[in-house]
Structures are given as C-alpha cells and as structure tokens.
C-alpha cells in the first residue's frame, strides 16, 4: 500500500519532462493536421485522385508496360505540391499575419524549432502522395496484361516533388516574408520548369536539374535499355529538398551553438547527397546500355526468347514473353479466315524496337524481307492490335512484310478482310487502324513497320465485306483464295469474286 503511494508522485513528475525534440514533433503533428485541412490542399488532393483515375482509365489500352507506368506517376503529385508550397508558406507566415509573432517570439519554442516543425509537417501529405503513386502504379501492375518492370527511382520523383515544393515554400517564407511572394514565386517556378527543359533540350545533364524530366518519345522499350538515371535523380531531389528545408531552419533565429552545429552538419550532408545525385545523373547513358540498345535494335534475336504457340514461333524480349499468347490469338484468328496454304503457314513473329536513341527519339523500323516473318512492336491494345493483325494478313497474302508497302491492287481488300473480319467490332477497328481515323475514302493503313495504302474503292468493298460478316464471306475467300491473292488482281474482280458491289474506276494509289 505504501509503495503505491510513494510511486505515484514519481510517475507524475517524469511525465512533463521537456525534451527539445518532442516539442518539435508535437508542433509538427499540429501543423500537419492544419496543413491537411487547408482547402487548397484538400482540393488538390481531390484533383490528384481524379487525375489518377483519369490517367489510369485512359492509358495504355489495358496493356501497360510498367517501365512507362512509373514515369506517368510523376506529374500528378505536382498538383498537391503546389497547394503544399502555398499552404506551408502561409502557415509559416501565419503568426506574422495575425500579429502573434510578438507573443510567439518569446515562447520557449524558438523560431528555428518552429521552422523545423513546419518542415516535418510536410511529411504526412507527402505520405498521402506516396499512397497515390502506389495506387496508380499498383492499379496497372496487378493487371494480368501488364509487362515490364517499374523503377523505384522513377516512382519516388512524385512524392519528392511534393517535399521539394514544401521546402521551397518554407525557405521563401523565411527569405521573403511577404504574403504576395509565394503565389508569384510558384508561377515563376512552374513556368521556368516548363520552359527550361524545352529550351535546354531533353537528355542533357542540365535538363536533369529540373525536378521532372520528360521524354521526347512515347514509345516503350525494354526497361534495361531506358538508361534514365532515375535513382541518382531521386537522390538529387532528396538532397535538394533537404538542403532547402535545412537552409530555412538554419536562417531562422534562436539557434543554440549545438543546434547550429548539428544543422550545419546536416546541411553539409544534404548538399553532399544532392551533389552525389547530381553527378550521378549527369553521367549520361553508360556504354553498356548503349551497346545493349544497339544489339536490341539490330540483332534482337540475340537477347530474345522464342516461344511456340500452335504452328508459329514468337520471339520477344524477355519482359514481353507473357504477352506472346495474346499475339498468337490474333495470328490464329487471321489464319482461320485465310485459304490455301496460308491457313497452315508457319510464321515467325519477331518483336522489334528502335532503342538506339533511348527514350529521346523515335525511329521507323524497316519492314522485314524474310518470308513469313511478321514484326510486332512493344505496345499493344487499342489500334496496336489491328495494326499487328494487318501485318499478319499482309504477310499471309503477299509472302513478306516489305511487299505491303507496294501493294496497290485488289489484294489489299483480302488483306484488310483477314485483318479485321474476325473482330467483334470491325468498323471501329478499321477506323482505328487507318491514319485518317475515317471509314470512307482513301487512307494509309498503319502497321508495325511501313504502312499500306487503301484506295476509296477498296475501302468501300472492305466495308461491304465487314457488313456481310464472316459466315457469308469466309467460304468465298477460301474458295477463291488463289485468284484473290494473285498479283495484279483488280479490286473490281475481288469484289465480284466475293459477291459484293464493285467500285467504279481502276486501282490507283497516290
């Protein structure tokens, strides 16, 4: 009994012990709650969520490559970043604005510790952005159709930008404690970060000094060939954000000698981190990557794995091997519509990519002259599927891919029928595969390599065939296969053989 009585006061006396750090954390918790409840932050978080949903629904036609998805998470967090930039700045200036600085200035918690608490208050909202990035990436990554690998370095850029924005807001509040300064500085930063990379040009070391480095190309290449210094860049951004935040703390008043020493030491560490990252990202693409890019572009078979599905062989970069079955479905569908030997021909589907310029530029891929070889590229879904289908059909009809560029006669009708006849909504696919996005008149038909030309007459015949459907057309195709695939057969003749109205005029390709 007596022990209880003597112990009780001992407990109460330890409770209010003052620790310099715990006060910072307590204030940081308070400030982060205030920050998360500010209307601009809430609004931008909502806008960010809407952006994630919109990007995810509209992107990659349901066949994402994760080495592209990671970069696509970077710009959205800027929305939140700008709200954080404004609101952190206003939070630091709040005491000045409401004239409570005279009171706060003499409290135990010195300005530098209050600044430090403001710096820490950015972390929870950054945590929310981490969740957003994880959700956006995860949403694509769990799809069974997803291929490739994401990079942690790329995924970190978005959250680090939020941290950086907060640090800029913090430092601005200490450097220019005026309410109008921060919105103006925000616009200046934004415009500079938009205009500077365009003026400097992508890929150079200076371009990597901006927080988000975009790419000139939208194509997909194997993840090991991308050659973006993502990890170095995230180190650089971390160093930069820490440097700015620590500078803001360091120029705040009320520091003791010890705290100045600790802060100066941390600042030196942060600068070192930023420099390491900056040097790393300036190094450019390694010679190994350059060599690997050349091999992947010119001799892809050296690095590819080949898989057999049915009659045909499918050679793909390792990351795409799971997708070969999807390609095989298309090939099988096209072959099922064909006649003669084309039905059972063994094809080699070879994945090809122009990777020599990394992500900075695009390059056309020359069509293959090897018989029965079809090119497939790295993107899939949407218009990419009928494009591949058209390439398969052209090889079945013409023998090789190169010939597709020169065909101008009635065989084009057969090619397009094979390419589209099996699909559930062939007119939509026809629109998607044509460069002009039309279903009448002449147009270029896209394919993984060179395009093919469709005249207005061929287009109308193909549309009539698509309207008639496979049950009517397929038997006629199989019956007249030899005539349909004979060189120089006219479109009128093809129409007549397949039992649809012939167009007026001879075949003429521009």
């Amino acid at each position: 009994m007596s022990t209880v009585l003597t112990e009780a006061p001992a407990e109460t006396s330890t409770a209010p012990a003052r620790e310099p750090w715990s006060a910072i954390f307590a204030l940081a918790r308070f400030e982060s709650r205030k920050l998360l409840l500010r209307i601009p932050v809430l609004f931008m978080l909502a806008a960010y969520v809407a952006w994630i949903v919109w990007r995810t629904k509209s992107g990659w036609y349901g066949y994402p490559a994760l080495q592209d998805v990671d970069r696509a998470t970077q710009t959205g967090p800027l929305l939140v970043g700008f709200a954080v930039l404004l609101c952190v700045n206003q939070a630091v200036l709040r005491s000045q604005r409401h004239d409570t600085e005279r009171l706060f200035g003499v409290l135990v918690l010195e300005p530098w510790r209050r600044t430090a608490a403001h710096a820490l208050s950015i972390l929870p909202v950054t945590g929310l952005v981490v969740l957003g990035v994880a959700a956006q990436f995860g949403w694509q990554a769990v799809k069974s159709t997803a291929v490739g690998h994401g990079s942690v370095g790329e995924l970190l850029v978005g959250p680090l930008c939020v941290l950086l924005c907060g640090a800029i807001g913090l430092l601005m509040a200490r450097l220019v404690p005026k309410p109008f300064a921060i919105p103006v500085a925000a616009v200046l930063l934004l415009v500079f970060s938009v205009l500077a990379p365009a003026s400097i040009g992508g890929g150079s070391a200076t371009a990597w000094l901006t927080p988000i480095v975009g790419e000139g190309s939208t194509k997909t290449i194997p993840s090991e060939l991308i050659g973006r210094p993502a990890v170095s860049h995230s180190l650089y951004l971390t160093g930069l954000a820490l440097t700015l935040a620590l500078l803001a703390v360091l120029i705040s008043k009320g520091r003791t000698k010890t705290s100045t020493a600790v802060l100066a030491g941390s600042l030196a560490g942060a600068i070192a981190l930023g420099v390491v990252g900056g040097v790393g990202q300036a190094a450019g693409v390694s010679s190994e990557t350059v060599a690997a890019r050349t091999v992947a572009t010119l001799n892809p078979q050296k690095v590819q794995s080949c898989v057999r599905h049915g009659r045909s062989t499918y050679c793909a970069f390792p990351e795409w091997v799971p997708r070969t079955a999807t390609w095989a479905e298309v090939t099988d569908h096209v072959q099922s519509l064909a006649g003669g030997t084309a039905q059972t021909r063994k094809l080699l589907v070879q994945q090809r990519v122009e990777a020599r310029y990394g992500m900075e530029g695009d390059g056309a891929i020359e069509p293959s002259t090897t018989p029965n070889q079809v090119t497939v590229r790295t993107m899939w879904g949407g218009p990419r599927t009928p494009e591949f289908s058209a390439a398969v059909a052209s090889v079945l009809v013409l023998g090789n891919e190169k010939a597709g560029g020169d065909v101008c006669d009635g065989r084009m009708v057969t090619i397009m029928w094979l390419a589209l006849g099996w699909t559930s909504d062939p007119v939509t696919e026809l629109r998607a595969v044509r460069l002009s996005d039309t279903v009448t008149g002449s147009s270029i038909v896209l394919s993984p390599t060179n395009g093919m030309t469709m005249t207005a007459g061929q287009t109308s015949v193909v549309r009539e065939l698509l309207a008639a459907g496979p049950s009517t057309v397929t038997p006629k195709v199989k019956a007249h296969w030899a005539e349909l695939t004979a060189p120089k057969v006219t479109t009128a003749k093809v129409a007549q053989l397949l039992g649809v109205k012939a167009p007026g005029g001879a075949d003429k390709c521009e």
């Binding site: 209307i39 601009p40 609004f43 931008m44 806008a47 809407a50 952006w51 929305l79 700008f82 709200a83 404004l86 609101c87 206003q90 604005r97 005026k178 309410p179 109008f180 300064a181 919105p183 103006v184 500085a185 925000a186 616009v187 200046l188 934004l190 415009v191 500079f192 938009v194 205009l195 500077a196 365009a198 003026s199 400097i200």
Partner: protein, 230 residues
C-alpha cells in the same frame, strides 16, 4: 471637446458630391494601396514574359504563349491584394460607399496595369507573339476574375486582408482548370488550333461574368441574406 451643435452639424447640409470625395481620396488611397507588392509582382511577371528570350536564342511560339499567359496570371495574383484594407473595421461605417472605395483603388491601378501589359507584350519577340487582341482579352479576364474574387471575399467575410487566401485559391484554380476544362472549350489552346476562336468567346464570357460578380459584390447589403432560413 464640447460639441458645438449647429456649427459642424452635417445633417441638413447638402452632402458633398461623390466626385469631390473621390478626387480628395485619390492621394490617400494611392498611398494605402499595396504598391510595393504590386510592383514586385509586376516585375516578376515581366521576368516571366522575358523568359522565352532569356532561355533561348530562337524561342518558339509555344513558349511565348506559355510565358505570356503565366505573366498575366502572375499579375492577376498581385491584383488579388489590391482590395486589402487593414483599417477595414474602422472604415466599415463611413458614409463613402465600399463600391466607390474599391472602384477607386482599381481605377488607380488600371493605368499601371495597362502599361505593364504593354511592356509584357513587347517583351515577346514580334515573330512569335500570339494575337495581341485575344491575349489582352485573356489577361483582362484573369485580372478582373482575381479582383472579383477579392471583392467576393470582402462581401462574404469580415476579413480585412483577404488577398493572400484569394491569391492562393485563384492560383489553385488556375493550375487545375487547364486539366479539368474540356479541350473543346478552347480556353488554353494555341493560336494554330481551330478552337482558338471559340476559346476566346469563352474568355469573353469569363470577363463578363467576372465583371458581373464584381458589380454584385460591390454593394453593402442593408439586410443579411440567409442561405438556410432559421
């Protein structure tokens, strides 16, 4: 301080004309304006307008358009502070109406704004300058929208200096609207796109709407309007 009744009694005496009050207010209001903030904002906005020249020897039309729009936005952000009045509590019960006081402030800023915009436009090399008339419409819409937002803040809150919050909100909306508005509205397209014309019809509507909001927020109501009847 005995009140000499009759001598300075104002009731019964014809109240002085508004024009005289405004003329005499010009100098003190000019001094009460946040001149330094506006000047700093205008300077940064000019710097933004000069960015295409500074960053590249041969700037393109796209960067000129972005820079000019951003400069207009920056200046509009500065205008959000024009109606800030630290003495608002004290001036809330003077006979000179609020709409006169706020309009005077804007009228004093307007020539400066016009001169600033001319300078900003001239900073864009003539070869890549977007259509000046249409861009002026955009800039005017942004400026009046910012002022209307500040007027609304005065009308619906008791805050003496709402500029900071108005500017933050305005900036957030300005950043989100290019993403959120349908491209068909054409408000953020470039001159080469076919929606440019219809986009500027929309900008004109924004301008008219902002003027209407400004006018609607001017009067001080003699009755409180309640959103929810109690």
């Amino acid at each position: 301080m005995t009140r000499e009744s009759g001598e300075t009694e104002q009731a019964g005496v014809q109240p002085p004309s508004t024009a005289r009050v405004l003329a005499q207010l010009t100098r003190p209001v000019l001094r009460a304006l946040p001149v330094r903030g506006l000047a700093a904002t205008a300077a940064v906005a000019l710097l933004i307008a000069a960015l295409p020249r500074l960053l590249s020897d041969e700037p393109d039309q796209w960067s000129a358009l972005i820079a000019l729009r951003a400069a207009a936005l920056t200046f509009a952000l500065g205008l959000a502070f024009v109606l800030d009045d630290p003495a608002r509590d004290l001036t809330s019960s003077v006979p000179t109406r609020r709409i006169l006081r706020t309009t005077l402030r804007v009228a004093l800023v307007a020539p400066f704004a016009a001169a600033w915009w001319t300078a900003a436009v001239l900073l864009i090399p003539s070869k890549i300058r977007p259509p000046v008339g249409d861009m002026t419409l955009e800039a005017a819409a942004a400026a009046v929208l910012s002022l209307a937002a500040a007027a609304a803040a005065l009308r619906f809150t008791a805050e003496p200096e709402p500029g900071q919050r108005v500017a933050a909100g305005f900036l957030v909306i300005a950043l989100v609207s290019p993403l959120a508005l349908p491209n068909d509205w054409g408000m953020y397209v470039s001159p080469t796109e076919k929606q440019w014309g219809v986009g500027h019809d929309h900008w004109a509507m924004v301008l008219v709407g902002a003027v209407a909001v400004w006018a609607a927020c001017g009067p001080e109501p003699v009755r409180r309007r309640r959103l929810i009847p109690t």
